[in-house]
Every structure is written in C-alpha cells, then in structure tokens.
Amino acid sequence: MLLLALVALLLLLVDTYTRWLEPVRPWLAELTTPIYWVSSLPKRIGELGDETVVSRADLEAEISRQKTQLFILKGRMQRMAELAAENVRLRNLLNATELLQDSVLVSELIGVSPDPSRHTIIVNRGEDHDVFVGQAVLDADGLMGQVVEVYHSSSKVLLISDSSHALPVQVLRNGVRSIAEGMGDHKRLTLRFVTPTTDIKVGDQLVSSGLGGRYPLGYPVGTVTSVDMVSGNPYLKVELEPSARIDRSRYLLLVFSAVEQLGKDTDAGK
C-alpha cells in the first residue's frame, strides 16, 4: 500500500514539475483514442437516428428555410464583395498592408474531458494535419479555444470557458480592450479589471483583439449579459455569454492564421 502510494505520489510530482513524461503522452493518447471513439458511440448513434429518420414535412421545411437563408446570405455577400474591394482600395490609398485571409481546417470532436472541472476536448486532427500548439479553434458561431497538446492524429483543445483560460478581447462597438476569462461554466465568461468609467454596456459584442499573439483578430467571443457595480469593489463585474456553442458543437474549425502562414512560407523560401 505504502509503496503504491509512494509510486503514485512520485508520478504526480514528476508529471507536475518535470517534462520527463512529455514523450509518453502522445502514445498514451494513441492508446486512448479508440476507447474515446467507442464512448462517443451512443451519441453518434442517436445523431444517426436523428439524421436518417426524418419526416418528409420536416425535410421540406428545412429545405425551404435553408433556401431563404441562402438567399439572404447571397444578398449580403454581394455587399461583402463590394465592401472588401473598397476596403482594399482604401488600404492601398493609405499605403497600409493588405488584410490577409485566414484558412481553416475542419475537424470533428471525438472526446470530452470526463472531469467536470476541466474544460478540454479532443479533436480528430493532429500532427499529421500540421496542427500546432497554440492554434485557435472556432465553431460556426465564434471562438472555442486553443490547441494545448498535439498527438499524431488527434489533439487536445483547451476551451475558453476553462477557469485557467484568458484571452484578450475588444468591444466591437468602440474598440475598448479587456481580458475575458473562463469561469469553469460553459455559458459564462467574465471580464477582469473593467473600471467603472469604461464604456461598456449590456448587449455589446466582444471580438478577439489579436493582442497576445495567440488568437487571430476579429473573431466573435461573446455578448455582454450583465454589468454590475459591486459595492466595495473598485472594478465592475462584467459577464458575457460566449458566442460559440461551447458544450454542443461537434464540428470545429482549426485556424491557420494568414500571418503565421506567411512566416512559414518565407522560412521555407530561405
């Protein structure tokens, strides 16, 4: 008993304070991937049932809804093209650098951390697909998190709602900068150190500010849901609701930031 406890304690110490176990991690992850896959089967089968057994009326309604949406989006796209062209012209006039387009890689969620106090997920892309540590991860609606560990064909993503996570943001309306921190709750984030005179109000959209160098600029992070002055506290208590559907999204996008790609290309050119 004592011996086993000592071994476990030693393992804990080694894991926390040294990097000796790092080479072991990727192949442990290889080992765990099949079990994770099996454990997600019930959910997959449920989804398969939802996908294959749909009534005709539902399908028709879905198609007509999507058609309308496509119509609206196409209309907006026309404006977008014009705006993008205008933006490029204006930037040229200002002699500013061109805004670069980020490219993305679609990935699927294959595992969720079983520890409720830790918000990490596992996605099915890894070293083989050029995923790197620190890469930003999005879903269809907003920023989800960042890659923290990369294995051969999967990687671990730390979500923005984890209590150890913080990211630099700015208010879309006026560019006020702040830092959004996770609280260990999928539906809430908090802003730290917002002074009472800051121009921020309920309903404000927050986007990533690109400062800090981890996340690319301009992806939606959340919407302000409450701004409270707590007596005795010098800062405002601001809470956001994340834009991304952090506990629900299955398909995620890994962002290859245009700036990083440019850096890689020039490195390769040398």
Binding site: A8, L12, S39, P116, S117
Partner: protein
C-alpha cells in the same frame, strides 16, 4: 483453481474497461456533475466480492488506467483509489454481515472520501485552480450501487463464477 482466478481477473479487467467507457461518455454540462464514479464502484464490487484476488494493487491499476484516459495529472486517481481500497480492507471482516443498503451507505461515504482526496490533490498540484467540491457523484453512486450488485451478481452467476456478494437488505 488457477484457471478460475484467471477467469475472474479477465472479468474484473473487462468490467473496469466498461466502467471507463461509462465514465467517458460525453454528457451535458449539468449531467456530468451527477455522473457516478463508475470505475470506483466497479473496483469496490470486486473488492467486496473476491478480496483475496483484488486488493489495493487492483484499485491502483484501475485508477492509473482512469488517469491515462482523463489525461490530466498522472497518478491522481491511482493514489486515491488505492487509499480507498486500503480503507475498505480495514473493514473487510465486517463486510460479510452488511446488507446491500448498508453497503450503499459505505459506498456513499467512500465516494465522498475519494472526491475529497481528488479535490485536495488537484488543489496541491494544479496552481491557481479554483473548483468546487460536489457531493452529487457520491449520492448517485450510492443510488446505483444496489442495481450494480444485483445485475453483476446475476451476470456472473450465469458465467459460473463462484460466490456472489449479499444483495438482500
């Protein structure tokens, strides 16, 4: 005798893997707080059922397996499960007289102890961590214990594995 103990080990190993699967199935963010400690329950079942074959070592390896899959601090569940198994060992003689509800009470207490220990270890080793301790897993674990005992006894009886543990009250 040799063969039957090997068979028992196969069953216990297999059941730990099933417990692992149950522990890893993705659930919604509220349901996850109420998830019973399946792996620990299965370890307890084997400790109660065949204490000569399953002891602290079995619990330790099950915990380590769980650690590998959870992918956080290695050795965290191993040390806690081993400690729980040791505590169970201390009351081993009395276990024979426990009915299933009595066992469930013991399980409630032991899962609570394991939560407490896991929490403390995380507090020590993960700097700046602020989580809250929940008694929900202990309650759900105690609730499913009688069902687990009933079904496991039934299943293993059909497989011709010896003595089962008390499932009466």
């Amino acid at each position: 005798m040799q063969e039957s103990s090997l068979l028992t080990y196969l069953w216990s190993g297999g059941s730990v893997v099933i417990g692992l699967l149950l522990q890893l199935i993705p659930l919604s963010s509220t349901a996850v707080l109420w998830r019973p400690q399946f792996v620990l329950l299965i370890v307890f079942y084997w400790l109660f059922r065949s204490p000569f074959l399953h002891g602290v070592m079995f619990a330790w390896f099950s915990g380590l397996l769980l650690d590998i899959f959870v992918g956080e601090l290695l050795g965290r569940h191993a040390i806690v499960f081993a400690l729980c198994a040791y505590l169970i060992r201390l009351v081993q003689q009395r276990l024979h007289h426990f009915g299933v509800l009595h066992q469930a009470m013991l399980v409630l207490f032991m899962v609570l102890v394991s939560q407490l220990l896991l929490h403390s270890i995380t507090l020590i080793f993960r700097v700046g961590w602020e989580g809250s301790l929940s008694i929900a897993p202990a309650i759900t674990s105690a609730i499913i214990w009688p069902f687990l005992v009933f079904f496991a006894n039934r299943l293993l009886k059909t497989q011709g594995l010896g003595q089962s543990i008390s499932s009466g009250s």
